[in-house]
Each structure stands twice: as structure tokens, then as C-alpha cells.
């Protein structure tokens, strides 16, 4: 009986899974999966975009960037060369100023100026410095007296 009974039970067909569940369950599973997936995709897309922009900027115009770099090298070289040439100029000026001829000429000009204008000590400054203000009460008295 046991074998027959078991076979009888085994022959009983189980209920089929409701067909509507397939899309619902797989839809929920797909929604759960992309959360992780899209984050990865988004970050990788972002990196890919940056890579594409950089490659667009640099790779196709390699000759252009090389030329630009060469121009900058020339500019810097010229700048350094110009700085080297101009460096002695202030020293030469200083040497000229301190030369005896120049000093003599300067002395003559100063003498001539002194003859024309007079010595600075002969002309006291015309500008009078105002005394520091006193107390407010004294200032009023002064104003009334005037």
C-alpha cells in the first residue's frame, strides 16, 4: 500500500504558479539589480566621458600642442636672454652718475640754481603749522573774541 499510496500522491499535480507573477517578480528583481548596476554604470560613464574629452583635446591635436609648447619654449628663452642683456644697465647708469664729469656738471648746475633762487635757508617756509587744538572751552572763547 505504501508504494501505491506514494505513487498516488506523486501523481497529484501541484498548482501552477500564477502567470501574472512572472512580470511582477522579475520586474521587482530588475528594479533591485539596477540600483547597484546603474551606480557602477554612472561612475564608469562619467570616467569614460572625461577620458573622451581628454583624448579629444590632446590626441588628435598632438602636433598643435607640440607647436604651442615649442612656441612657449622660444618665448621663455627670449625672455631669459633679454633679462641677461638688460641686467648690466643699472650698473652702467650708476657708473655714469658717479663719473667725475657728471659730478662736475651736477655741481655746476647746483651752483647756478643757488645763484638764481638763493639758498634754502634764506627762504623760511611760508606755511604756518597750526597749533594743536586746545580744549573745546578755550576754542569757544577765541571764537567769541574774534
Amino acid at each position: 500500500m505504501n508504494d501505491d499510496f506514494e505513487k498516488r500522491l506523486q501523481r497529484q499535480p501541484v498548482r501552477p504558479v500564477p502567470s501574472a507573477w512572472r512580470e511582477e517578480i522579475l520586474g521587482a528583481a530588475r528594479q533591485a539589480a539596477p540600483r547597484v548596476h546603474t551606480r557602477r554604470e554612472a561612475s564608469s560613464d562619467w570616467l569614460v566621458t572625461i577620458r573622451q574629452v581628454l583624448s579629444f583635446l590632446f590626441r588628435p591635436q598632438r602636433a598643435g600642442w607640440t607647436g604651442l609648447a615649442a612656441v612657449w619654449v622660444v618665448i621663455i628663452a627670449l625672455h631669459l636672454a633679454a633679462r641677461d642683456d638688460s641686467a648690466p644697465a643699472p650698473a652702467m647708469q650708476a657708473a655714469n652718475i658717479t663719473s667725475p664729469g657728471t659730478l662736475r656738471a651736477l655741481r655746476q648746475q647746483r651752483l647756478l640754481l643757488t645763484e638764481l633762487v638763493g639758498r634754502p635757508e634764506d627762504h623760511p617756509p611760508t606755511r604756518q603749522h597750526s597749533a594743536p587744538p586746545g580744549p573745546r572751552s578755550q576754542r569757544r572763547e577765541t571764537a567769541v573774541a574774534v
Binding site: 501541484v14 501552477p16 504558479v17 507573477w21 517578480i25 522579475l26 521587482a28
Partner: protein, 168 residues
């Protein structure tokens, strides 16, 4: 991965559904657990990478998910054994009145079994698994699987004997 999920569903959803329906005795719980299984697979597709027996692995996943669901629902957990007594149509409909009566009685008798015996009986009778496979799927010792089956089948026989003898 989406195509893989669809393949998994088409190949295993029926078996998982029947097992979960018999185990939980509740259609809404069955759907929740089945969805939980596929969501887990979608989130962690690598879990299937080293699996040899997909059906056994999915049954284990479904069994664990069903137990987790019952534990989460503390109050309903206690009522879980009562689910078994409900008249849940676990088998396909038929126009034959004798068969319909037998299936109804069989559903009711399965509902009266403890859930752990019901799980073993279902996997043995309707999934055709060996005791080794059942033990692996339910994560129980082999002897426990065999004894649960024996006790469960004896109870079903006692319960269904009058009807079985009548329609045999």
C-alpha cells in the same frame, strides 16, 4: 543578468512556488518569499556562480527566506502552524469529483502536518529529491530528513486511508 533571471524563473519558479505554497500555506507569503528570492539573486548574481545544483540551491534559499519571513512576523509566526489547517488549494483543479475530493483532503492533511515534515514530504513526493538532496536543501541531517518523511507520510496515510480505499 536579466536574461539569466528570466531563465531561472522559467526553470525553477514553478517548483519554488509549489514548495513555498505547501510550506507557508499562504499565497501572499509564497509570493513575497518568491520575490525575495529573485531580488536576492538580482542583487547578488555571484551567489549562483559556484552552484552546481541550481534547483537545490534555490530551494534552500526559498526555505531560508520563508523561515526568515515567519520569524520577522513574530505574531504571525505563532499562527504559522494554523496556516496549515486552512483549506488552501495546493493542487491543480480537476473536473473529476473523486480526484477533486482527494486533492482537497490531501491539501487539508498536508496542512495538518508540522511545517518541517511538510517540507520534507513535499520535496520527496513532488520534487522527487533524494534524502541527501533534501537534507542539503533544508540544511538538516540525512537521518532527520528520512525520519520526517516517514512520520509525515504515515500521518497522511492515516488521514487519507478511508478516502483512498474508497476511490482506489
Amino acid at each position: 543578468m536579466a536574461a539569466d533571471l528570466e531563465r531561472l524563473y522559467d526553470e525553477h519558479a514553478q517548483a519554488l512556488f509549489a514548495f513555498l505554497l505547501n510550506f507557508t500555506r499562504d499565497e501572499a507569503d509564497t509570493r513575497d518569499v518568491l520575490q525575495d528570492v529573485f531580488v536576492k539573486l538580482a542583487r547578488q548574481p555571484e551567489r549562483l556562480a559556484a552552484v552546481r545544483d541550481e534547483r537545490g540551491f534555490l530551494l534552500r534559499l526559498a526555505h531560508n527566506a520563508a523561515i526568515d519571513l515567519m520569524r520577522r512576523r513574530g505574531a504571525r509566526d505563532r499562527k504559522h502552524e494554523q496556516f496549515g489547517t486552512e483549506q488552501l488549494p495546493a493542487f491543480a483543479r480537476t473536473d473529476d469529483p473523486d480526484e477533486a475530493a482527494f486533492r482537497a483532503e490531501l491539501s487539508a492533511a498536508l496542512g495538518e502536518l508540522p511545517a518541517d515534515q511538510r517540507a520534507v514530504v513535499h520535496l520527496k513526493l513532488w520534487e522527487g529529491l533524494t534524502f541527501e538532496q533534501i537534507a542539503a536543501a533544508l540544511e538538516i541531517p540525512l537521518n532527520t530528513a528520512a525520519s520526517r518523511y516517514r512520520y509525515g507520510l504515515d500521518k497522511l496515510r492515516d488521514r487519507l486511508r478511508p478516502l483512498y480505499d474508497e476511490i482506489k
